[in-house]
């Protein structure tokens, strides 16, 4: 029994390595280069600080990865992040206990996600348009709610989320880990996850196979909503304030990390581990360029080039596969 368990773990590890060989190699090269060219990169302090920097992007990228896998998209994650941050901080400032405020905010994120999900399943509007619209609505709502001003929050318990440590590990790091394990388990170990791949791979075939397409689609949007709210809490806790303008453009970072990590823009393909690697590549890249005193403007350009390269390599691999098939 134990033996079969081990061999299946080794097998899935092999599969993971094979599937993500390219980006793993890229990650390795980046780490290697930065360790050679800087003497501060490969230090515990720096690595822990990178972990904190990428945490918000990572959590958003997991959510984005999931909607991409079912063949949809969620452009509203950045706005949900801002609105959730404002909701949470306002509640704490109004005297609601921190724990309760956090829980209510997560539930609020779930509601935002549910709205996207229900619109996506019960109308025929493309998810790109739906979430483009809700992105505007949620953004407007956060400005309306705060009168366009940032709200400061020095609640100790609250700021512990973003700045605290559990032993040597930042709490933000633990949140990443929890999201990674959650996404990974959902995708690989459950019927729900197989259903997700089926919907993204071929929606019609999924309907014929008796998969509850509407239920799964709505639930995935809810998960993404919760993760966006989580990211909002993390960000405002780290900077001791919630700003209605925060998180603008974060959806693009999340898409970039997911696609870099091997999630197909057409749905049906992608892994949680891949998304994590995608986030790390972008994070290390930014960190390394910072240390090499390259301006942040260049970092944005490098990120763009990375995405092009990653997706190009991916299409090359797919084309070769299809070509072999045509001749066979």
């Amino acid at each position: 029994m134990k033996l079969t368990d081990n061999s299946s773990i080794i097998k899935s590890l092999q599969k993971f390595l094979k599937r993500n060989f390219m980006i793993l190699a890229a990650l390795f090269l980046i780490v290697l280069a930065l360790s050679v060219f800087t003497d501060t990169f490969l230090t515990t302090d720096n690595l822990l600080s990178v972990m904190r920097q990428i945490s918000v992007d990572a959590v958003l990228a997991f959510g984005m990865g999931m909607v991409l896998i079912i063949g949809c998209i969620d452009l509203s994650v950045g706005s949900v992040l801002a609105l959730s941050g404002c909701v949470c901080v306002s509640m704490i400032e109004a005297g609601i206990p921190t724990e309760a405020a956090v829980m209510i905010t997560l539930a609020f994120g779930a509601c935002c996600g549910a709205l996207n999900g229900l619109l996506a399943t019960f109308t025929t509007i493309p998810s790109f348009i739906i979430t483009l619209a809700t992105q505007q609505c949620f953004r407007g709502a956060s400005y309306l709610m705060t009168n366009g001003k940032s709200i400061m929050c020095y609640d100790e318990k609250f700021s512990a989320i973003g700045t605290g440590y559990a032993g040597p590990i930042p709490i933000l790091g633990i949140v990443i880990l929890v999201c990674l394990i959650f996404t990974c388990t959902l995708l690989n170990k459950t019927r729900f996850g197989r259903g997700m791949y089926a919907i993204g791979g071929n929606r019609d075939a999924a309907v014929y196979a008796g998969i509850k397409v509407k239920k799964i689609t709505t639930c995935v949007y809810i998960f993404t909503g919760i993760m966006s709210a989580m990211a909002g809490i993390m960000l405002s806790s780290r900077v001791y304030s919630a700003s209605p303008g925060s998180g603008a453009g974060y959806e693009c970072n999340a898409i970039a990390a997911a696609v870099l990590g091997g999630v197909s823009f057409n749905g049906g393909i992608g892994t949680a581990g891949g998304v994590m690697i995608g986030v790390m590549i972008i994070g290390f890249m930014n960190n390394g360029l910072n240390m090499l005193h390259v301006t942040s403007y260049w970092q944005i350009i490098v990120k763009g080039l990375l995405i092009l390269l990653a997706v190009y390599l991916d299409t090359l691999r797919n084309n070769r596969r299809l070509h072999i098939k045509k001749r066979g």
Binding site: T4, K189, T190, Y197, A198, A205, Y208, A209, G268
Partner: protein
């Protein structure tokens, strides 16, 4: 002697990355000849045609058109020598007009450099008139046309370049019988005008109807070319497959068991007043023209379309089925019509595809029993003889026949008592077709009640114990081939609505 031939391809060799795809192939044809090109998938038909069209270059050999040597590997040179290829899929821009499509990329210009629409439409009208489509207005949006009309626009487009050699790659795969008849008329007219036509098809009766001669290819080699009168249906198949197929259709005789399904006056939005019964071990065939409502009828049974009125009895118990999930729970399986659109997850593994309907048997909460999954896989791979590297291979990499086997096994895994197969052999090689027929009988022998939907009449006539004929959303006639002599003409009579005239006469 050389002037006899409009097209000569001599000693063509082609390999891709060391794999020889065409081996010393020669191909000749005369002006005005209609030549069927037959062969299984991967026999090299399309590669040969792509060399003719200039899409691929050949490694050695030469192509002569009207005695002139073609510089191979150039689409421009091929088309200026009068070669046009109509591909299997329609490649028209759906939101442009007919005229715009015909002259797409070759638009006429006015003196001031803008597109000369007046001339485009004038010339389009002329071309359409030439092929008997004078009634079609060149300023119609393509999307509004029927598939056969679109196919004709493709032909018009090909002819607008004054082609002498027209290649048609399975042009009828999406056409109804009437549309096919119309297409054939056009082909005959073209051949009278001296256009040579190369007609690629899997359908034997079409080859018989339209071709003057047939060329058979297998494994990248030219096997034979013969006038169509001098070769039999069996010989063609035998040469395509390379060995004799014994018992192309299995001899199936099982006494039907007890009744599992009874449908009474079922009406959905698409079909009306459907009544029939189905017994264990029985193969019940349904046929009809495209759009007659065969697929829509089983969609009602499978919970995809809501049943508006009428009753469905399973094992004598009145049942309602609201979703495919419920149908699967009640042991009904549906192998849908279009395997790539509705049956397969092409980007996923074979294992994923085969077990997607029975996930609850090996995934509980967050624990996956891989051993059990493997057991399920082994059982069906063995039973269906699926040819593949391993179960982690992607479905997209399999041949059509093997893909169809994967789809069927996915549904067998859910241990159905009623198995509905909608066009199970469409786009499948001849050899694999026979495999699927034998498989269906093996399933029925085990007591599964099978509904077989097919527009290929020989298929339903040889496989089923009863044949239901549908026309315009209604079930108009049942034939019993076991008890009476049934001809294709009789079935077509009912499928085309002939019964209406009959009742009228009475």
């Amino acid at each position: 002697m050389n002037e006899d031939y409009i097209l000569q391809m001599k000693g063509i060799n082609k390999s891709f990355g060391g794999v020889s795809v065409l081996h010393d192939v020669s191909f000749e044809m005369r002006a005005g000849e209609v030549r069927a090109l037959a062969g299984e998938n991967g026999a090299g038909k399309s590669t040969l045609m792509k060399i003719l069209g200039g899409i691929y270059d050949c490694d050695s050999g030469e192509v002569l058109i009207g005695g002139e040597r073609l510089s191979t590997g150039s689409v421009q040179d091929s088309s200026s020598h009068g070669v046009s290829i109509i591909h299997q899929e329609i490649v028209l821009v759906q939101d442009m007009t007919v005229g715009e499509n015909i002259f797409l990329g070759r638009e006429f210009k006015t003196k001031s450099g803008f597109v000369d629409f007046r001339r485009i439409y004038k010339e389009s009208r002329e071309i359409l008139g030439r092929i008997g489509l004078g009634q079609l207005k060149p300023d119609t949006i393509v999307r509004e046309l029927s598939l056969s009309q679109q196919q004709m626009v493709e032909i018009a487009k090909a002819l607008s370049t004054n082609s002498r050699i027209l290649v048609m790659d399975e042009p009828t795969s999406s056409l109804t019988d009437r549309e096919v008849e119309f297409l054939f008329e056009q082909i005959r007219a073209l051949s009278k005008k001296g256009v040579s036509i190369i007609y690629i098809s899997h359908k034997m009766d079409e080859i018989n109807q339209i071709a003057d001669s047939v060329t058979i290819m297998r494994d990248g080699r030219h096997i034979l070319t013969r006038p169509i009168q001098e070769i039999s249906y069996e010989e063609i198949i035998q040469n395509m497959v390379g060995h004799k197929i014994e018992d192309y259709y299995p001899d199936y005789k099982v006494k039907p068991g007890k009744e599992v399904l009874k449908v009474e006056h079922m009406t959905t939005e698409k079909v009306e007043d459907i009544s029939f019964t189905l017994r264990e071990g029985e193969i019940l065939g349904f046929t009809g023209l495209m759009g007659a409502g065969r697929t829509e009828m089983v969609n009602g049974l499978f919970g995809l379309d809501p049943v508006l009125s009428g009753e469905i009895y399973l094992d004598g118990i009145k049942s309602t089925i609201h979703s495919p999930g419920e149908a699967i729970k009640r042991k009904i399986s549906l192998v849908p019509e279009d395997r790539k659109e509705k049956g397969l997850f092409l980007q996923n593994t074979i294992a994923f595809n085969m077990t997607i309907t029975v996930m609850e048997e090996f995934i509980k909460g967050i624990s996956v029993d891989y051993k059990k999954e493997q057991q399920i896989l082994n059982e069906y791979i063995h039973q269906l003889d699926i040819k593949m590297a391993d179960t982690e291979q992607l479905a997209v990499e399999l041949s059509g026949g093997n893909q169809q086997k994967v789809v069927i096994s996915k549904w067998l895994a859910s241990a159905p008592r009623i198995l509905i197969l909608d066009e199970p052999t469409r786009g499948v090689d001849v050899g694999a077709k026979s495999d699927i027929y034998h498989l269906i009988c093996k399933i029925a022998e085990k007591g599964v009640a099978v509904i077989l939907i097919s527009s290929e009449l020989p298929e339903v006539m040889n496989m089923s114990s009863r044949i239901g004929v549908m026309c315009e959303g209604r079930l108009v006639k049942f034939f019993e081939p076991d008890k009476e002599e049934v001809t294709q003409e009789q079935i077509m009579h009912y499928a085309t609505g002939g019964y209406e005239h009959e009742t009228y006469r009475q």
